[in-house]
């Protein structure tokens, strides 16, 4: 699967842009603030219906305008597929696939699998567990439609339950009818979500070890582990909610559940979060994301698009060379790489076997060069 044609109108810093791409590697260079990341985000938006950086739609509009449009022609299984995303200020977003409005985003996501790696991913290690759950969720939702639906439903129930907890003042710890309903439903969904997350992490942990080894030239012993907040069947989840009810009422929120799950990355049995150097943290992120790529490829039976934003950020020359060796193999499809220095990235390109094309981005304009 690859993106053949991209059109941006009033999107971020792009006034109007039309450009053709092909299969293989695309190198985009340009100074800071010229629009490299925005271009990658536009591609991500077409695949995932949302910006990678969780910007709201109104913040994607070119300053001073009242709409944006991103349109892309993808080729999947030798068939063209046109995705057209429009948003008008104070209006609703329209997301159209082949002239047909996409009503349920959950069932569209995964049609065009994508993996993005950006310097902002440092949060995956350094920030709280929310970022790591997002990594789990963004991977699984591309493969399982029901996962997205279950998760959305769980989150809605969680918000209702938390609001309800605020209104309860009784100290008896006895459940009222509403809690009984919320706990039943949430327990049922928890088991399914837990199962999918466990399966995902099990399936990609082997790939993770292998990729980390190649990236760091095999110097360190690493692993990745799913750390669920609680485990069990529906009955056990219900009991867990009951057990924590007193605390929940006191703190006015649901203290335990799958919304507290986490993943932990280890180097030599120590958490990367605590002992990892900048380079090790970066390798961890790349290994995690590239194993996500392999997992998506396997379960969507499609070569996902890989978006690599500013790869030289904090990676030393050796690691970049190793990274390029990995993505140079044929198990990766269309790739977009951005960097600030034309010379730096060109110096390692001759080592690639794959065909590549180079572009420069300047103030929302893009030029192809050989």
């Amino acid at each position: 699967m690859f993106l053949k044609h991209l059109q941006l109108i009033r999107f971020k810093n792009y006034e109007s842009l039309e450009i053709d791409f092909a299969e293989g590697i695309h190198i985009l260079t340009g100074n800071n603030g010229q629009g490299k990341t925005n271009l990658l985000d536009a591609i991500y938006l077409l695949c995932m219906t949302k910006s990678y950086f969780q910007y709201s739609e109104k913040n994607l509009i070119l300053f001073g305008n009242d709409f944006f449009r991103v349109k892309g022609t993808f080729i999947k299984n030798n068939q063209p597929m046109v995705i057209d995303c429009k948003y008008r200020l104070h209006g609703t977003k329209s997301f159209v696939k082949d002239d047909k409005e996409v009503k349920k985003y959950a069932s569209f996501i995964g049609t065009l699998p994508v993996v993005m790696i950006t310097p902002a991913d440092i949060q995956l290690i350094e920030e709280g567990s929310e970022e790591r759950r997002r990594f789990l969720d963004m991977s699984i939702c591309q493969v399982e439609n029901t996962y997205t639906e279950n998760l959305n439903k769980y989150n809605k129930l969680l918000r209702q339950r938390n609001s309800h907890l605020k209104t309860i003042s009784n100290q008896s710890g006895k459940k009222d009818e509403l809690l009984e309903f919320y706990d039943d439903e949430m327990a049922r969904l928890s088991v399914m979500i837990l199962f999918s997350r466990q399966k995902f992490t099990d399936e990609m942990s082997g790939q993770y070890k292998e990729l980390y080894g190649i990236l760091s030239s095999g110097m360190e012993r690493v692993k990745m582990e799913y750390r669920p907040d609680c485990i069990g069947d529906v009955k056990e989840f219900k009991e867990m909610f009951t057990r924590n009810l007193q605390k929940d009422i006191l703190l006015e929120r649901t203290t335990h559940g799958i919304h507290r799950d986490d993943i932990e990355f280890y180097i030599e049995d120590m958490p990367v979060k605590r002992v990892g150097s900048q380079g090790q943290i970066k390798s961890t992120i790349f290994a995690a994301k590239l194993s996500q790529y392999q997992w998506l490829k396997k379960f969507t039976s499609t070569l996902p698009i890989l978006l690599l934003d500013d790869i030289f950020d904090k990676l030393d020359h050796n690691r970049v060379t190793n990274l390029l060796k990995i993505i140079d193999s044929n198990i990766y499809g269309q790739i977009f790489i951005t960097d600030t220095y034309k010379e730096r990235i060109r110096s390692i390109l001759p080592e690639l076997n794959k065909s590549f094309k180079c572009f420069t981005i300047q103030q929302g304009q893009i030029d192809k060069y050989e």
Partner: protein, 208 residues
């Protein structure tokens, strides 16, 4: 926009305070009224004033009507053994339109949603239980939207009414008429399969 008269401005403001009406439509409506007979305009505006002042909520079922007993409750030809529980008057009207229900109603006035500050106490649920006992109701049909808030409300209702000797049912959910299986979402299709019905009953004209 600048108006030549403060009276026009006031009228435009009034119209545009209605949902779905912008300034331009409001001006068009205001100018239209100017072309009409003064008597017509008086009775037109009167209809809203009277609506607001004189409309009564039924003491029995919370439907709206001209009296404290609504037309449905007054009608003794209706089946007095069955109550259909709905969220709002709009849902009641939708069900009346089908002409397939001949029982009584109970408008609970919303759905349980703690986020919006709506708990069971804010809804007309307690008097539903009283009504069931007092009137010796045989069946309660919950005609409530199957979203999270609706499911919560139905669960709560069924728990509240469990101790009463009354049959509790809910409207069927599944593939809509004229719908295509291919485009139905997985949850709807899945539920339709699970709650399948004997074919002969499929288009039987049953009314309560």
């Amino acid at each position: 926009m600048k108006y030549s008269s403060q009276l026009i401005e006031k009228a435009v403001e009034s119209f545009s305070s209605l949902p779905g009406i912008g300034k331009k439509s409001a001006l068009r409506l205001a100018l239209y009224l100017l072309n009409k007979d003064p008597e017509w305009v008086r009775s037109f505006s009167d209809s809203f004033v009277r609506l607001r002042n004189e409309l009564k909520e039924c003491e029995e079922c919370h439907n709206l009507g001209d009296d404290t007993e609504c037309s449905v409750c007054k009608d003794k030809h209706r089946n007095q053994d069955i109550i259909c529980v709905v969220e709002s008057i709009r849902d009641l009207m939708a069900i009346e339109e089908t002409r397939h229900f001949n029982g009584l109603y109970h408008v609970i006035g919303g759905l349980i949603s703690p986020i919006d500050g709506i708990g069971p106490d804010q809804l007309n649920i307690d008097d539903l239980a009283d009504r069931i006992q007092k009137r010796n109701i045989k069946e309660v049909v919950m005609a409530i939207s199957p979203n999270i808030e609706g499911e919560t409300t139905m669960f709560y209702l069924s728990k509240k009414l469990k101790s009463l000797n009354v049959k509790i049912s809910t409207i069927a959910r599944g593939i809509s008429f004229g719908g295509e299986l291919e485009y139905a979402d997985e949850i709807t299709l899945g539920r339709s399969i699970l709650s399948r019905i004997p074919y002969m009953l499929y288009d039987a004209e049953t009314s309560a």
